[in-house]
Amino acid sequence: MAGAIQHDGAARIVWRLLAGFGGGYALVSAFVAASGKLLPLIGMARGDAVSLALMLALLVYVPICLLMFATRHPVRDGLAVLAVATALVLLARIV
């Protein structure tokens, strides 16, 4: 079926990998930073907030990678991953 990874050319596969592993890494890193900044605002200790975010990070990272393998719209979804990562970075910086 058009758009599926098994019919992709090399460039789209490389994009999927970069967006999944690289974009996912950026998103997870930003997720930890933002959680470490936001959760203390509701009373959680900062160390605990980061510990919790680290434990949840893989539950975020693995599905992102799977999404980038599975999606029929890798460009759109890859850009969405990067956009969320950027938003989280900004959030962590602003708070």
């Binding site: 079926m1 599926a4 990874i5 098994q6 592993f21 997870v28 890193s29 930003a30 997720f31 930890v32 930073a33 959680s35 470490g36 900044k37 959680m44 200790a45 900062r46 160390g47 605990d48 907030a49 980061v50 510990s51 919790l52 975010a53 680290l54 434990m55 990070a57 893989l58 990272y61 693995v62 990678c65 799977l66 393998f69 599975a70 029929r72 962590a92 910086r93």
Partner: protein, 522 residues
């Protein structure tokens, strides 16, 4: 309700196949070395016979030890003692020399004197770091490769669950006498499902252990860029002041240790022992003494408590205990380290590790079997994957056997081109491993059987060399209280037997091309 579409299943199959092919060798190496690491202290005793000490529950005086360690160590900024235990009967002793090099010794718990030990990195110094970093230290590259492989393993496990339509039914199907391709897939499915929670736990907890390395920006950003503050709040690290230049005698370390353990025991409600005693800036007015219960014997959780004392006065300056979520994280990490005292579970971990090796190896093997008839004679890529699979599976096991044999054969003062004895053992490992890849590239399918025969021979040879070069063989070792040595020999013999059986089956196999019409994972 959302359904799993064929399209999604194909995508998962694609990810499962290619991540497995590209990173399978790394995953196998990490799982193999991680499996050996479960028994690293016992392997240490086998490879460093001078540390074969029968443990007793004597109290070690660290005041006495500090008085008798070499002057260079006493002048060190960093002196570290690892408290002896049943699995580590010698006292671990590390210090940082004046030239910043770390010195690693073992002390006799009865006398406090350094043990004249065989120069070997053994299990704790080679197998353990190999499974973390593949011994590639440059820019922490090895840690990143292993981290990527761990992430890939989690993706493989999840994608594997989506590929199989009848996963529960497949768990109960193993047909070893069917065609090789079918039997390989059955074994892959069986080994995958039987240890599935364990296979999730290991990469997940491994990545969590190295979170500070893998996500430094995310962690430090939460602490406004101050990584030291992050370490202090999350792990109990204490920022030690620099030496003042003013000399001051150290208060009793034994008294501080008792105080730390009393504090922790009161907090926990059960006796809590310290595992690590660290003296920083010894002899200086800014000396600090640091205690940590890194590996509790009776709990899974890791490094629950840290107590830091002012050295000259013996005053408590920091008492850290893990906060609730930090404790949950430390529990997951402790489940990976498996240092708690539970022998049946330790053996289950070992079996789980071997099961993981089988899962990874059969996955790679199935990739080869599925393409054998089409590509075996035509594709360079196929031949490369074939050689990498053989060298990566049977080759690393054979190299491990060669490492053990080199440990027993190399003279005590062996050196070559500036490499000491411990380094030479590792060179033997790498050379034999490299040789197995070349062997596989040349002999192809036949290399499996020959390497299995070599593994069997290596196992038996290692046991014989242990008996010949030390005072223990597997019979006398168990009678004299050296259970670790006896079990290590028995495991080597069992492994040799298994390798010989496998070699016989592989040598006898005449029909390498089994090709049923349709397989569920295709």
């Amino acid at each position: 309700m959302a359904r799993i579409t064929p399209d999604f299943r194909h995508a998962m199959h694609w990810a499962h196949t290619w991540l497995g092919v590209v990173l399978g060798i790394v995953m196998f190496a990490v799982f193999w070395m991680g499996t050996l690491t479960i028994f690293a202290p016992e392997i240490d005793q086998w490879m460093i016979p001078e540390t074969r000490i029968v443990h007793d529950e004597r109290d070690v005086s660290y005041d006495h030890l500090l008085a008798q360690i070499p002057p260079e160590a006493r002048a060190s900024d960093y002196i570290n003692f690892v408290v002896p235990s049943e699995r580590h009967p010698a006292i671990g002793f590390f210090y940082q020399g004046a030239d910043d090099t770390f010195h690693d010794n073992a002390l006799d718990p009865a006398t406090g004197q350094p043990l004249e030990q065989t120069d070997s990195l053994a299990g704790s110094g080679f197998f353990y770091p190999f499974h973390l970093s593949l011994m590639i230290e440059w820019q922490n590259l090895g840690y990143w490769i292993v981290g990527l492989a761990a992430l890939a393993m989690l993706i493989l496990l999840v994608s594997g669950l989506f590929i199989h339509r009848k996963i529960i039914a497949e768990f109960f199907v193993f047909r070893p006498h069917r065609k090789a391709r079918r039997a390989t897939l059955d074994l892959h499915n069986l080994s995958s499902l039987i240890g599935l929670p364990f296979y999730f736990l290991m990469p997940f907890s491994g990545l969590l252990i190295f979170a500070f390395l893998y996500l430094p920006w995310g962690i430090s950003e939460a602490f406004d860029g101050d990584m030291d503050a992050a370490y202090a709040e999350m792990t109990g690290d204490y920022a030690v002041p620099a030496r003042s230049g003013r000399t001051a005698p150290l208060a009793s370390v034994d008294a501080m240790k008792r105080k730390a353990e009393a504090l922790w025991s009161a907090e926990e409600g059960v006796p809590v022992k310290t595992n690590l005693v660290r003296v920083l800036n010894h002899g200086d007015a800014n000396a600090v003494v640091y205690f940590r219960n890194t590996f509790p014997d009776d709990r899974v959780v890791l490094s629950e408590y840290v107590a830091v004392f002012d050295g000259p006065s013996g005053r408590l300056i920091r008492n850290f205990s893990l906060p609730p979520i930090g404790e949950a994280s430390a529990w997951i990490q402790g489940a990976h380290f498996m240092q708690f005292g539970h022998w049946p579970l330790r053996w289950l971990y070992f079996l789980g590790g071997l099961g993981g090796c089988v899962m990874i190896a059969t996955g790679m093997l199935f990739w080869l079997r599925s393409r054998e008839s089409r590509l075996a004679n035509a594709s360079l890529g196929y031949r490369v994957v074939e050689a990498l699979t053989i060298g990566g599976v049977s080759g690393i096991i054979l190299a491990t056997g060669a490492f053990l044999i080199a440990n027993r054969l190399l003279p005590a003062d062996a050196t070559m081109v500036g490499t000491g004895r411990a380094g030479l053992e590792i060179r033997v490992f790498w050379l034999v491993w490299l040789g197995t890849y070349l062997h596989a590239a040349i002999l192809r399918e036949r290399a499996w059987g020959q390497q299995c025969w070599a593994i069997a021979a290596a196992g038996v040879t290692a046991v014989m060399l242990n008996a010949a070069t030390t005072s223990n063989n597997f019979l006398t070792a168990s009678w004299s209280g050296h259970r670790a040595v006896a079990i290590m020999d028995i495991v080597l013999l069992a492994g040799a037997g298994l390798a010989a059986c496998t070699a016989m089956r592989l040598t006898a196999r005449t029909d390498p091309l089994g090709a049923p019409a349709a397989l569920p994972a295709e």
